[in-house]
């Protein structure tokens, strides 16, 4: 064992706590601000301790919204974000697992061409094709709809690759065995492969849910109606008006509500999260 002198250990603890403080401070500030009065904050007189307006601010945020800039209550935005995130996460997993299955377990013309076509989409993030993609979604009349929010994002090269890699490690004997039992390709997929993929799907789901929840550029482009806004878009609109009108406690409460679901997912499902993160980056 390498020696760890006492003093070094204290230094390590100290550095880690400083790191945690730096990481947590902006969020702490947001939570504190969401419990104080707007007038106090706007004067630059904000306190570093929680105020007494917690219930009032969060009630207003979730059920009423700001008085000026966004008009929709944040509750609606949370719902929109949730629907979008779930559609994206489930959609990506569903279409990726079946295409990976076809590519690994069947032999057919253009198999590799199709694999590469899916793979190369890694190099076409939405940022490099902003307006043409917008135009297609507009032509398909999908603006301001859940389908428009989710559909263009549910192709997934990483998920397809991940499932492909996993299927390659599944022993051949399983296929032989289920074939002897008279199972066809769909039955084998459903009864054997899907149960085996459960952990992979769960890990992927955690990452994809966060990814979907945190989408910004795409919903910004295709939602114009207030009642279709996701929470990330709503929060931006809240601070667009001239500074004097910004209702900071509501903005900060919205920020806290926007962070809560994905952060909870990371903390509660830490093992799956770490696994998913490491696997998708391979």
């Amino acid at each position: 064992m390498v020696e760890e002198e006492g003093i070094q250990r204290y230094v390590a603890h100290a550095i880690l706590w400083i790191g945690i403080a730096i990481v947590a401070f902006p969020v702490y500030l947001a939570i504190v601000a969401s419990t104080q009065e707007n007038a106090v904050i706007a004067n630059g007189q904000m306190s570093l301790l929680p105020g007494g307006h917690f219930l009032q601010t969060y009630y207003q945020t979730i059920f009423v919204g700001t008085s000026g800039s966004t008009r929709e209550p944040v509750g609606t935005m949370l719902l929109n974000s949730l629907v979008m995130a779930l559609l994206i996460a489930f959609g990506k997993i569903a279409i990726s697992i079946i295409s990976a299955y076809a590519i690994v377990y069947f032999r057919f013309p253009f198999r590799m061409a199709m694999f590469w076509m899916i793979f190369i989409t890694l190099m076409l993030p939405v940022e490099v094709r902003i307006y043409p993609t917008y135009k297609i979604v507009a032509d398909l009349r999908l603006l301001d709809s859940y389908a428009g929010l989710a559909l263009p994002l549910i192709a997934s090269a990483t998920a397809t690759l991940l499932f492909r890699q996993f299927f390659m490690t599944v022993p051949e004997e399983l296929l032989e065995a289920s074939r002897i039992d008279g199972a066809g390709p769909l039955r084998f997929f459903w009864d054997t492969l899907l149960p085996l993929s459960r952990t992979n799907m769960a890990a992927l789901f955690v990452i994809l849910f966060i990814l979907g929840w945190n989408q910004y550029l795409w919903p910004l482009l295709i939602t114009t109606r207030d009642d279709m806004q996701t929470i990330q878009i709503g929060i931006r609109k809240m601070i667009t008006t001239t500074d004097a009108l910004t209702e900071w406690p509501v903005v900060m409460a919205t920020a806290v509500l926007a962070m809560l679901p994905p952060v909870l997912v990371v903390v509660v499902m830490q093992k799956l999260f770490v696994r998913g993160l490491v696997e998708t980056e391979k």
Partner: protein, 293 residues
């Protein structure tokens, strides 16, 4: 690449690939092709007629000082974000890798910012450093610094870099920690027996052994700084003041939206596409070698 024994079916595999293929063709390849085509076209002011202009849009873009300023800025941002985030994450990971009490708690408390969305990061940092009401801005003014990122472009740029680096620390930390834990402890023991002090052990043993992880994270961080900072910039500065925080991606967005310059915006998109292809290629060449270090 494929199993020895496979299923025989003419239609089923196509049916299974079809949904993903349809999405990819409609929402990825078609728009990407459109961007390429559009980058060679010029539309008149009323959108009534378009003409094929070869590389005029590219020449136009590449002769704008504004564009080059955005390119340089994007690279400066990328390296500043990558450097500050990687170095602080590495420090934290090295500390967390020691056998300390509460080790897993530290990890939990350091990884959650990964889940905070870029626009929310922007809002949090704006609030802290807002010139008139930000709590940190008050402190800076107390120290005699004339802090006003709404007017001072350099300060705005610094703000973006800090906020973007802050968000990325958790991601880098996680991968550094995994990298450190995969280094056999016997290597450190050997170095310690040879009489190397901790600092020296870090630079001669840990750092070289971590180099694959560092390189991998460098690429990831640059990609992050190129693309994922959009949300941070849009909520914090909108590219301002006076374009001081306008990155390449932000400029594509602004030029196409407000400027209505679709040809120019498309040409910029194509240039970005080429950069992504380059970065992805580097990333994948590296991944093949990662296994053998």
């Amino acid at each position: 690449m494929q199993k020895q024994s496979v299923f025989q079916s003419k239609l089923l595999p196509y049916a299974l690939v079809a949904p993903q293929l349809a999405i990819v063709l409609i929402f990825f390849y078609w728009p990407a092709a459109q961007a390429v085509v559009q980058s060679f076209l010029l539309q008149d002011a009323f959108g009534l007629s378009t003409s094929f202009v070869w590389f005029e849009n590219y020449q136009d873009i590449l002769s704008q000082p504004d564009y080059w300023a955005a390119v340089v800025r994007t690279f400066v941002f990328s390296f500043a974000i990558a450097f500050s985030s990687l170095s602080s994450a590495l420090l934290l990971a090295v500390m967390a890798d020691k056998p300390l009490r509460g080790g897993t708690l530290y990890r939990t408390l350091l990884i959650w910012p990964y889940a905070v969305a870029p626009p929310v990061v922007g809002v949090l940092w704006v609030f802290m450093l807002h010139p008139s009401l930000g709590i940190l801005a008050r402190g800076l003014r107390g120290m005699g610094i004339d802090w006003n990122p709404l007017l001072d472009g350099n300060q705005a740029a610094l703000l973006i870099i800090l906020a973007a680096a802050w968000k990325q620390i958790s991601y880098n930390f996680l991968f550094f920690l995994a990298g450190l834990q995969s280094i056999p402890k016997s290597v450190f023991e050997a170095a310690a027996i040879d009489g190397a002090r901790p600092m020296r052990r870090f630079w001669t043993v840990t750092f070289p052994l971590l180099s694959p992880t560092i390189f991998f994270l460098l690429v990831i961080n640059i990609v992050y700084a190129f693309f994922d900072t959009f949300g941070i910039i849009d909520t914090m500065t909108r590219g301002g003041p006076a374009k001081a925080t306008e990155t390449m991606v932000y400029k594509v967005y602004v030029d196409g939206l407000l400027g209505g310059n679709l040809g120019g915006s498309a040409a910029q998109s194509v240039i970005l596409m080429i950069i992504v292809v380059g970065l992805t290629a580097i990333q994948f060449r590296f991944v093949e070698r990662k296994v053998t270090y």
